[in-house]
């Protein structure tokens, strides 16, 4: 299940959707807005996306994860709009019969999401507004999954 929304989400509820007897392992990753950036207090972070393409890219990444690992379920929830420090931004949940597939797939999904899904972050800090720059370390993290 792929969702892009401005509202918050409940990780417990999302994880609970996969709890059943054929699922031996559920792994989740929750991304949270840090309260500090470039040595400054972060006032807020605003996430912009490309409606339509964002959902399609997330769907594509989820399908790719399912082809690489034997998964019983994948959920990706990503928020957009203005977020405050301490708020949840993103959730990835993977469900599998065994933990290794669930752990690896969750990491893969986050690495790919960061470099492929069209979202852009703008930070409001005490000194002004800044668009977050893409990090080469994120590209490298995604590249290690290339076959």
């Amino acid at each position: 299940m792929i969702r892009v929304q401005s509202e918050d989400f409940d990780p417990g509820v999302e994880i609970g959707r996969f709890q059943r007897e054929d699922v031996g392992a559920i792994v989740s990753f929750t991304g949270v807005v840090r309260g500090e950036s470039h040595g400054e207090r972060l006032v807020s972070m605003t996430l912009e996306h490309f409606p339509g393409m964002t959902e399609r890219e997330l769907e594509r990444i989820a399908v790719e994860a399912r082809t690489r690992w034997s998964l019983q379920g994948v959920s990706v929830v990503h928020r957009v709009g203005e977020l405050r420090p301490g708020e949840r931004i993103v959730l990835v949940v993977t469900a599998a019969a065994h933990r290794q597939a669930a752990f690896e797939a969750a990491e893969f999904l986050m690495d790919y999401l960061k470099t492929r899904a069209p979202f852009w972050k703008r930070e409001l800090r005490a000194s002004g507004e800044y668009w977050v720059e893409a990090r080469s370390s994120d590209d490298e993290a995604a590249a290690r999954w290339s076959r």
Binding site: E48, F50, A117, E133, D138
Partner: protein, 83 residues
């Protein structure tokens, strides 16, 4: 064709989308970027350094050599920073 701008490109250009009638000499994403940049002002600023930009044609990522034609939707944006 329809052109979309995201993040700081949208701010520099001053709009999120527009419909343009590009001349027939505009055959690729790169041609379109150069033609838009030649409008000057915020466009020149937005398209000053194409290495900082990414593009999608009809919601599929593509490099600046991808062909474009009338009716296409072409989006320009900086490298993505979600997650």
């Amino acid at each position: 064709m329809k052109v979309l701008y995201f993040a700081w490109l949208r701010q520099k250009v001053g709009r999120g989308e527009e419909t343009v009638e590009a001349p027939s000499s505009v055959r690729t994403v790169g041609d379109l970027a150069a033609w838009l940049g030649a409008r000057g002002g915020g466009y020149a600023d937005a398209f000053a350094d194409l290495k900082r930009l990414r593009a999608a044609v009809n919601q599929e990522y593509g490099d600046f050599s991808v062909a474009v034609k009338a009716g296409d939707e072409v989006a320009f944006f900086p490298p993505v920073t979600g997650g």
